[in-house]
Symmetry: C2
Subunit: 438 residues, 2 copies
């Protein structure tokens, strides 16, 4: 099937037949037989390997297996024996796939269950025997080279603006971490605060030029043009997003200040006062950091400032297999140390690193609330499998940021020999970044 | 000679006979002969290898060699031919040693000359042939293991409190980078602002406990006890400094809140709400980062916050050979990437990295001004060689921070699984950190 022609008629997703990829045995008939004793043993073993989370298992015949030595806070239901075997063989991938297919279900708050799992597994995996570590290991992420990147990005970002509009903020369609300057902010305020905060960190002034690598629906570029009077070249390889961004810029009379360019970031040319990239680095892949480093080096004027905003890790680790395979092909959230490799390669001077991980947990919670509110519309747009998969993705992400297995870094840097530096960070905080109302 | 017994009578330094270490040929008689043509060629070659800085050379017979294609901004005087040969053979070490011995002198602002040299050499060294790189390479720094560390530290920090009192701030004898929250602050204000800023970054509250690794003259511990009502265990292996710190704490009635401990940081025990280390990491040596990481891991309560303040680099690089051999034995300023190695090892969550390098350039400038004002007293206390060596060290350090070859990092982190995080950094900037007057 030609994806491009298909996309013109209706939004597509490629999530339905994932069970082939996992070799997940299909189960078409309802199972009510008694579980074998070895199946009960497998459940208990699985829970011990996961660090004994407070989870009750309910099996296909409604038999329940309680957690060891503590009350259950959540119940996980398995619809059939083959689901159990899939879970034991490859829990990273199967938990999400089975949930998506409705063959695994959860009673209790899904993000809280996932956070609990992340925390106990994080402790427990240090004691896993080597064979188990090998069996359950995540596979290397997909390539993010120039020929694969477009397909990776289309898989996620071209799901349709109508879909994202259902649950992202109404202000600027920001699909990255918001900045909750005050806890009571609305998502819209917090997303605009994020845009403002980034402009401040870049110390933008009227007349400056900015290049943006990976511009999403173009909200940051428009914010910069509108509020800071700068000229922006904004790159993105997602066709849907660029079309939306261009239309918005024209509507708002900002099209003379912004050029949205449907092209790979690797083709950025020219020199700018600022380089900014929000939520792209995690799709770049660490094999491409050196190239990106050199690109920033040549794109930034001698006294320019660069900012990279990216999901990251406390230490190098592969992306969760299910997220990487089903949701974000090729994703790799780097540690600060890995981002420093990028900076060191070009002798950049790192001025400021900030970790906003709890802001992302909160952002995702609001997204999930809105997503849940729009479930029937989304299921109509795609199907039940898709809706459940995305629910798992949002819940798992909330959990990962809360449990500290994902981080959100903003890194600000300059050329190594520039002395035109912001001397303190006080100017970032002189007045609120969020608008009083949206 | 037994150093300990010697130290009791008068402050000592071990800088006088450094020419043996360098194998610097001594020159006792004044040389006035004409330079040979190959000596003039060597000067020109040396300048080209250094990236053609705007320096005029005046040789022993007052012959002058102008810089190529530009007016001279500085003059370097060489007193004898052997000084030239030493400079060509090992410029990193010889420049400082010859200056200390008065066999190399400078007309023009010494920090500006050094900055100019740092900048041109930084560019030029990328084109050095391999043999030159090998010839001029810095040697590995001295060991900083438990048996060498005391001697390394004594070499520098036990020069005598009377010496440091002549040119450090009068407020808290801070021998680390000040925080120039506003450019017009006095050194005293800026040093107190630094102490306040660190307390804020640690989010100290009354009744908390703090452990400090490498406490200098104890000023931070006293500031914390006085202004934040915390209890501090402060470690240092410099006898002179600990004695001073204890006396000050008693005088100020803070001795019930602070325990100054004359011991290696490796012997820290107990668990604390905060771990802080200001200006120690650059003496720790990267071979000991793993051990330090594990120490912080076990010393920090589950929701504690740690702060490391250290001189650093944009990328891994050995310390300037002269500084490491003559001034700071064993010093190694790490890159953020190397500091991240320490953090990743214990799965720490890095919240905040700030680079204050221009603050250190300014701090050092004020120190040098005061040092220059006290030159005759210092020369009387030690000798001319010592005074000139320290002048070179201060000037070279100003230059290194201005040229971006040194950085000053403050890194704030927590355990990876703590969610008791400061959510934003606004609280650091709500009111001035510096006192209105000192």
């Amino acid at each position: 099937m030609n994806k491009n022609s298909a996309r013109k008629s209706a939004p597509q997703h490629s999530l339905t037949h994932q069970s082939h990829v996992l070799n997940l045995p299909l189960q078409d008939t309802q199972v009510t037989r008694e579980p074998h004793s070895h199946e009960r043993w497998l459940v208990a073993k699985l829970m011990r390997m996961a660090g004994s989370p407070p989870i009750r298992f309910r099996l296909w015949n409604n038999d329940e297996i309680e957690p060891h030595g503590q009350p259950a806070l959540f119940t996980v239901y398995l619809a059939d024996p083959k689901a159990l075997y899939a879970l034991v063989a490859n829990p990273n991938l199967a938990f999400g796939d089975l949930y998506s297919a409705g063959r695994l279900d959860v009673e209790g708050d899904l993000p809280e269950l996932m956070e609990s799992l992340y925390r106990t597994i994080h402790q427990a995996r240090q004691k896993w025997p080597r064979w188990l570590e090998a069996l359950w290991r995540n596979h290397a992420p997909r390539s993010t080279g120039p020929s694969e990147a477009p397909e990776n990005i289309r898989h996620h970002y071209d799901l349709g603006n109508d879909f994202y509009r259902l649950w992202l903020d109404q202000a600027e369609m920001q699909y990255t971490c918001a900045y909750y300057e005050r806890p009571e902010l609305s998502l819209e305020q917090a997303q605009l605060a994020k845009l403002e905060y980034i402009c401040r960190k870049l110390r933008l002034k009227p007349g400056m030029t900015v290049v943006e690598a990976g511009c999403g629906w173009g909200g940051l570029a428009r914010y910069m043009a509108r509020h800071y009077g700068v000229k922006v070249h904004a790159y993105n390889i997602s066709e849907e997003q660029i079309a939306y961004a261009q239309a918005q810029a024209r509507k708002q009379g900002l099209h003379t200040q912004i050029e949205y360019i449907k092209d790979d970031y690797r083709n950025i040319h020219g020199q700018y006062d600022a380089f900014v990239s929000v939520g792209m680095l995690e799709h770049v892949g660490k094999d491409n950091f050196t190239e990106l480093s050199e690109l920033i080096k040549r794109s930034l004027k001698p006294n320019g400032i660069a900012l990279i905003h990216s999901i990251g890790r406390n230490r190098p680790m592969l992306m969760n297999a299910w997220i990487e395979k089903r949701i974000f092909p090729g994703a790799y959230p780097p540690s600060i140390g890995e981002i420093m490799g990028l900076c060191e390669h070009s002798d950049f001077c790192v001025l400021d690193v900030e970790n906003l991980r709890l802001h992302y947990a909160r952002t995702l919670s609001v997204w999930m609330e809105r997503f849940d509110g729009a479930q029937s519309a989304i299921t109509e747009m795609y199907d039940e499998y898709f809706t459940r998969a995305w629910r798992m993705y949002l819940a798992g992400s909330i959990a990962a940021f809360r449990a500290g297995s994902l981080q959100l870094f903003q890194v600000v840097f300059t050329h190594g020999d520039s002395n035109q530096l912001p001397v303190t960070r006080q100017d970032l905080y002189t007045f609120p970044a969020a608008p009083e109302s949206v």
